[in-house]
């Protein structure tokens, strides 16, 4: 087997698992709050250090052989199907593992402050540790099945954490919605894998690890499914899975609701890590997508549409977390645009910078909500710069980074994506991307202005958050500011050591100029349009449009009215009442019982005690028998 045996990998996973078990089994009674938080955070720190050690060991290897592997045991083995419990550490998983453990550690520390005093404190850290365990399983998996374990596992943790405050039925329902929507995508993921495995098996290939998949993927091109090339079908099915996990159209609807969870959870799971799993999966399977240019077009179009669509919805949201949620959907769209353009490294680059600035913005929002004792409506905030000066400064860094201000992290990655999209997708897609960049600058500026600037609109007093919260934010702010510049060349030489990295030409500079201009326009526009007068003027002149956007294009309502409700009515009325209780049970089962009862009653009449009838029947019987014998 290729790759270098590296037994350290399992310990990267074992640390958060141990943290989960300690906090989950011992709980608040035995462990207490402080120890629980410390154990939870230290487990992730240990995991981060181990990942960093693996990373340095990886760097020591020659570029063409940068792969560490750790196979634990044969997981499932049943004749024609076998997979190992095995992990791999290559440049792509290294980048992801470092982002996941690094950002997770910061958010764990933040959580010790944010969740202080909560009744379910230890349960929270148990779930959070379990999430990191599954996320690392996803990232380090050596085959798609183990990846699927992580894939569903993070979905489970997301479900548990969204519904963390389970006593509120709305929050519990949001968790369920997330889980089920994700499962819709997962069904696509599974189908894609099943199709790939079945076709490869038909060619005699049973191994399913990524290395052999990469080697044998070209075999798939000889098949067609429904007249379409097999790789295209497989890639589209897998991408459908990605739209679930990474909240793309049409399955993005769970992510805004997922904001019901504690805010650090939104930062970690629903911004920095889990929702990027789909992007990661595409990058991991880039060799399959390389065989399916049609599928890549769909990926790019979906990403482009989602980016724009979600950015439009974000324009009018009142809830600070909802703005960030739609923003996340939109930014994930950018990552898929890049993937669709075949620029997987660019998508991973944006994944990294987005993890920094979006986690920072969420933590900032959390700090504001914490300081305002649970208030999330931006229209009830304002002027917080005086009461929360640290949060104000740190969020400012995140705001400028996402708005694409030159020099900050968001600028580098977004600019690169737009450049790649221009090359592969053409003017229209690029244009929508630039427009979305303008909208992004607009809604984040609006968020910043409404929250921190201008006059105070709340009566309540706000307070600055403790150091345990502001320190992790500071670390993220540094990354959000400098991360793009630091990574912009290093990441690419690390991920694609073989590819040539041509310096940007004058064409690229022109494109960059336009997108920066769009960003600045959006930024300035937001300052102007958040003033009450123009805001009201716009709202009144375009009231219909405003209503549609404000209600998120009624997508949830459409799903409910056209899919969920009809299906439930069908299940209840037609299947259960008509088919089950009516046809099968009523007509066939009880019907036949009634029929035999009736027949019995009918025959019982023959036993009426009249001897003359008996004699007649007897005689007829004898006659018949005689006839038969003779």
């Amino acid at each position: 087997m290729e790759g270098n045996y590296y037994p350290l990998l399992k310990w990267i996973l074992a640390a958060p698992l141990a943290g989960f078990l300690l906090n989950g089994l011992l709980g608040k009674k035995l462990l207490g709050e402080r120890a629980g938080g410390v154990i939870g955070s230290l487990a992730i720190l240990a995991s981060f250090i181990l990942a960093a050690m693996a990373f340095t060991d990886l760097l020591k290897l020659p570029v063409e052989n940068r792969l560490l592997r750790d196979t634990l045991y044969s997981w499932i083995s049943a004749g024609t199907f076998g997979v190992d419990a095995a992990f791999r550490f290559d440049p792509l998983s290294a980048v992801m593992a470092l982002i996941v453990t690094g950002v997770s550690f910061l958010i764990h520390v933040y959580s010790t402050g944010y969740m202080h005093g909560d009744e379910g404190y230890n349960r929270y850290f148990a779930y959070l540790n379990l999430f990191v365990f599954f996320m690392l399983t996803l990232v380090l998996a050596d085959n798609p099945l183990v990846m699927f374990v992580g894939w569903e596992g993070v979905g489970l943790c997301s479900y548990l954490l969204i519904g963390f405050w389970y006593e509120d039925p709305e929050k519990a329902a949001a968790g369920k919605k997330a889980f089920i929507t994700n499962r819709v995508g997962d069904a696509g993921f599974l189908l894609g894998l099943m199709l790939a495995a079945a076709l490869l098996a038909a060619k005699g290939v049973l191994a399913l690890d990524f290395a052999s998949l990469e080697k044998n993927a070209p075999l798939l091109t000889s098949f067609t499914v429904l007249g379409i090339g097999a790789p295209t079908v497989i890639c589209l099915l897998l991408f459908f899975g990605a739209t679930g996990k990474s909240a793309q159209f049409p399955l993005y609807v769970w992510l805004p609701d997922a904001m019901a969870g504690p805010t650090p959870v939104s930062a970690l799971i629903h911004a920095a890590t889990m929702v990027t799993a789909g992007v990661y999966m595409l990058a991991r399977l880039h060799f399959l997508y390389a065989l399916a240019p049609k599928a890549l077009e769909v990926v790019m179009l979906t990403g482009c549409f989602t980016a724009f669509f979600a950015a439009v919805i974000a324009l009018l949201q009142k809830d600070i977390k909802k703005v960030l949620a739609y923003s996340t959907v939109s930014q994930l769209g950018y990552m898929f645009m890049a993937a669709g353009a075949g620029a997987f490294s660019a998508s991973v680059f944006h994944l990294a910078t987005h993890a920094f600035f979006k986690a920072l913005l969420f933590l900032g929002a959390g700090s504001v909500i914490h300081g305002m004792s649970g208030e999330q409506d931006m229209f009830k905030m304002g002027g917080l710069r005086r009461e929360m000066p640290f949060t104000f400064l740190l969020v400012a860094a995140g705001w400028l980074a996402i708005a694409g201000v030159p020099g900050l992290s968001g600028f580098y990655s977004k600019d690169l994506i737009l450049e790649k999209v221009f090359e592969h997708g053409g003017l229209l897609i690029w244009g929508v991307g630039v427009l979305t960049a303008g909208l992004t600058a607009f809604y984040t500026t609006r968020l910043f202005v409404l929250t921190f600037l201008r006059e105070r609109r709340a009566q309540k007093h706000a307070h600055e958050s403790p150091l345990s919260m502001t320190l992790p934010m500071t670390a993220l702010a540094l990354l959000a500011v400098a991360g793009g510049f630091m990574l912009k060349d290093r990441l690419f030489t690390f991920l694609e050591p073989v590819a040539e990295h041509a310096p940007a030409g004058p064409e690229a500079a022109r494109l960059m100029f336009i997108s920066v201009a769009a960003g600045l326009t959006g930024l300035a526009g937001a300052f102007a349009l958040t003033l009450p007068k123009p805001a009201n003027f716009l709202k009144n002149t375009m009231s219909h449009l405003h209503a549609v956007v404000f209600h998120k294009f009624y997508v949830d309502e459409i799903y409910s009215a056209f899919i969920v409700k009809p299906l439930k009515t069908f299940a209840g009325r037609v299947l259960f009442q008509l088919v089950d209780a009516g046809l099968i049970d009523g007509l066939m089962v009880n019907g036949s019982a009634r029929a035999s009862y009736a027949a019995g009653r009918l025959l019982a009449r023959a036993q009426n005690g009249r001897l003359d009838v008996y004699a007649l029947v007897f005689a007829a019987g004898v006659a018949l028998m005689l006839y038969w014998i003779i």
Partner: protein, 514 residues
Amino acid sequence: MELLTTLLGTPLSQAILLPAVWGLGVFLCPRGRTKHYALAGTLLTLLAAIRLWTGFDAANAAMQFSLDLSWLPVYGIHYQLGIDGISLLMIALTAFLMPISVLASFNYIKESERAYYACLLFLEAAMIGVFAALDLFVFYLFWEAMLIPMYFLIGIWGGPRRVYAALKFFLYTMAGSVLMLAAILWVVAAQHAATGVWTFSIPALYGGALTEQAQFWLFAAFGLAFAVKVPLFPFHTWLPDAHVEAPTAGSVLLAGVLLKMGVYGYLRLAVPLFPQAAHTFAPWLAGLGVVGIIYGSLVAWTQRDMKKLVAYSSVAHLGTVMLGIMAFEPAAVAGAVLQMVNHGLSTGALFLLVGVLYERRHTRITEDYGGLAKVMPGFAAVFMIVTLSSVGMPGLNGFIGEVLVLFGAFRVYPWLTGFAVAGVILSAVYMLGMYQQAVFGPLRHTENKILPDLSFREWAYLLPILVFILLIGVYPNPFLRRAMPAVGNYIQLSQRQAAPPPADVKISLGGIRK
């Protein structure tokens, strides 16, 4: 005397006779001690099953622990027993679920305790007997013997509509069994006509010479009997009623073991005896399995009674199993066999959990609960894990079986299996729906505010199930390894060609003429 030592000397025969004899002993036991006595009996049987497990040679594809005693020599009827990996898993599951069922009955059963525990023990003997029988006559005997204690369990210790449910259960199964009996006699007679030897031995009949047409009708008869038991759509409507009315232990055994009898019947008899016909029927049976997955899930979604919901979810799960065994593909069949065990564990646990609630509040309607996580955190955690096992969460047992069936069957029935994937979504819809309504949300009803969490006894019977739910999910190979040779045999037997018609064998009312 020699006969007795042979009978009692083999662990397989012990596993059957021990609960049967122990069941008779119940009536000698002092009244207050009956339940402990019954628990001891089931634990001893579990010990016998563990001996089978450890003594079983996983590499050996032949029948093991064989026993063959001539019983009614005139018709070649033997008390012939033996197990392969599939029967081993089923017997282990049965012996594992029995002490759990007894423990779950401790507080629930107050009336005629002796008769109740005797029924449970007789049922165990019959169930293990079915899985161990290698003689058609013995098989049929145990098959029918199973019905009687189950009928009483539902009919005497059941809920308000127990008599209707028990009768429906009994008649439904009998209707199938009668056809099976006729078919058994036909098979044996045909074998006698062809070879001149009377035999009921199943392995001997595997080599039988049946024409394709005869196979068709015989498979139909066997298949119908087993389809009722599985239960395959549309023969499933006895199941929700039986489950709702049965006491907790009855539901656990019904779902955990009795439903597996149908699938086992296909694996051991219907397919290997009539392979040609099996291939004709297979796509239809697999199709009904997939209909069952979607239909069962959708109907489960609309149920308010938790037991009914779980009952319909069984229709869906067993649909997956049928899809697997009808694919005649190693991974799919192995997955189906494992899924039988998984379903026994997760659905058994679900019925136990509903029973835990019912003993406290005497209602099974989901809306009567809500917010249980607050007062019963231990219960909520166990319920969560079992729910996840049932929906096939990776890392737990249900996933392994499901994935093997899906990946394996997809190679044979791509379209059908494609539709079966809908079950992945739908199972989450109904299971999480129920969980959310019962466990999350505010404590709406004041009665629920004082519910005690799981007791020591309840933990004692739930924990072992959790251990296996996790173990099979993380490390399924010890189970798969034992099943694989038997799976291989099954597939090999299913590929046997039908004998060319010997022309002059004719079965008519006047007897069999050559």
